[in-house]
Subunit: 342 residues, 2 copies
């Protein structure tokens, strides 16, 4: 029996299983500390295409197919794809999956998209609407910088609070539990985030704009599930970076929760910020998606972490809203991922 | 008991109810044939704001609140918002709902977004995850033309195959059935569309790019539910326009289905194309959303139409994909809406 608990959470009676997961990354991520964990690492960030955007689509296509294959399933077994990316009108995802012949729900949650996709995929499977669905999220350094900040060719200086958009994709096959997949990680609960706006207007300081949303979603997860930080072995946000991490820990401390020993951030794990000159860390939908598919799920599968709170974080802006003087509101979605033996 | 039927459809055991619906439109829509059916009609398309985008957000905010109010509910009763618009990174929706304090799933399905939102909202309520959720979709002529074609100030000539983006929003409160709302229209089934790409590259001929996707989704709806066109009093697509309508009817005729007596299109109903110089008809997420909220639901509630197949249609392009020479793939989602007495 699925339970709607609290204002923002669902606990699944029969937790859906992450039966297959795949990650694909570009050259910079391949040189980073998590290199050994990614499924496919490319040296050519165009993925053999003639534009960054087409390269991103090719990355999405390969990663989705690989996730299905890793679960020993066929394209035909998949009832829906839930997916999105950072490009206007989701062209990264659209052109990546358009020939797969699978019904599609296009999503946009900025860099929180992986959490949004996993939540809806798990809700769909747990409700009995489908046996297998794909959740996927991607980002690409070339397409994102062109769209949000400056084209790479401009060669601008980046402030230290700036993050580096990950060229990466994570795809997940979410399935009904069966005796064969029962040892795989489960999604036991989700907490869906509200938009939180602290009035930040600096597009080079996304961490500060997203941290309040992450704090709000994590607080609500604790409240709805009636747990404390110790319930989780790790609490892993998407791409807050160093500055955002400090704000998040402080905000939750003020609410009576000390997450400093559990917290880490995909953006802080994916690069060696000193050696790779990535300033405040990695960002983009692909940052949390590839880190989950590659690194985090391996730790959960191996039982090193038994229960993880995965919290992708998004900054809700466009160049139009930014240039019109709007703030940068944030959003974050929580996904509770557990070892299959738990 | 909800049923997953066929490859792409779900039939709801206990169909969720559209307990409240509201529509807001701009001046051109207020002058059109459906004028009497819209809840709010504004003369100032900026909605009192200093940009088209901020105006669109204000329209979204008002329409969502009005839909909740029309169902005699409070903001606090709503567990999730499913919504989206045409703007890059969904800024129309984001800034419209950011202060409502309701968890959000951001969606992008181009002009099919209303169908995507209604499908997910109905799935969420029918699964027991929430008692009340909002589905919302909007578009704005000023923000859409600036983004996709030419700024209004440029004053370009429009070919006859071009459609006119509707300044409009439709919001729907989807609720559990109760004795009080049982007379309201129900959502009894949904069919989720695949991306269909016929290789169209003309951004002034969206109807032709979307018609194959609409044909595919409607065909699948007939097959999954094992029904024929006569099962529906009306089959209403989103914004195919005149040219798209001809293609749709022909494609389904080739598959053995004649929908010519049931079919109409929101884009063909919302304007008087001769008198209002709107060429091939209305388009945009707001076209189908406002037409459903204002006109279609009234016909269903009054029992004039007992059962309608509502099929918003989307063209999946961005200026970047278009300028890089990509095709314009289409998508469409089917929502079966029935009179409460059925």
């Amino acid at each position: 029996m699925n339970e709607s608990i609290g204002k923002q959470s669902i606990r699944f009676g029969t937790p859906p299983v992450i039966s297959g997961a795949s990650s694909t990354v570009g050259p910079k991520e391949s040189d980073g500390p998590l290199s050994a964990y990614f499924d496919e690492k490319v040296e050519d960030a165009t993925f053999g295409q003639d534009s960054w955007e087409k390269g991103e689509s090719e990355m999405v296509r390969r990663t989705v197919l690989h996730a299905i294959q890793k679960a020993n399933r066929k394209q035909n077994d998949v009832k829906y794809i839930y997916g999105g990316d950072l490009n206007g009108q989701l062209i990264g995802t659209t052109f990546g999956i358009k020939d797969l012949n699978i019904p599609v729900f296009g999503l946009y949650g900025a860099c929180s998209t992986c959490g949004e996709a996993l939540s809806l995929a798990a809700m769909t499977v747990a409700a009995g609407y489908a046996e297998h669905v794909i959740a996927v999220a991607s980002s690409h350094y070339g397409s994102a910088e062109k769209q949000f900040r400056f084209p790479l060719e401009y060669g601008n200086q980046r402030p230290l609070s700036a993050t580096w958009t990950v060229t990466g994709c994570g795809a997940f096959l979410i399935s009904n539990p069966t005796p064969e997949n029962s040892n795989k990680p489960h999604i036991s609960a989700v907490t869906t985030g509200k938009i939180v706006d602290y009035g930040i207007k600096d597009s080079f300081n996304m961490g500060a704009s997203m941290a309040p949303a992450a704090a709000d979603a994590i607080f609500q997860n604790f409240a709805d599930l009636d747990v404390r930080p110790e319930y989780y072995d790790k609490i892993i946000t998407g791409d807050l970076g160093k500055i955002g991490q400090e704000i998040l820990i402080k905000l939750l401390y003020q609410q009576g929760y000390d997450i400093s020993s559990q917290h880490t951030d995909c953006g802080l794990m994916i690069y060696d910020n000193e050696a790779q000159d990535t300033h405040s860390g990695g960002s983009g939908c692909g940052c949390s998606a590839a880190t989950l598919a590659g690194y985090i799920l391996k730790q959960v599968e191996d039982g090193i972490w038994k229960r993880v709170l995965f919290v992708p974080t998004g900054a809700l802006l466009s160049t139009v809203s930014f240039n019109e003087g709007q703030t940068i509101p944030g959003i974050a979605h929580c996904v509770v991922i557990e070892n299959g033996e738990l």
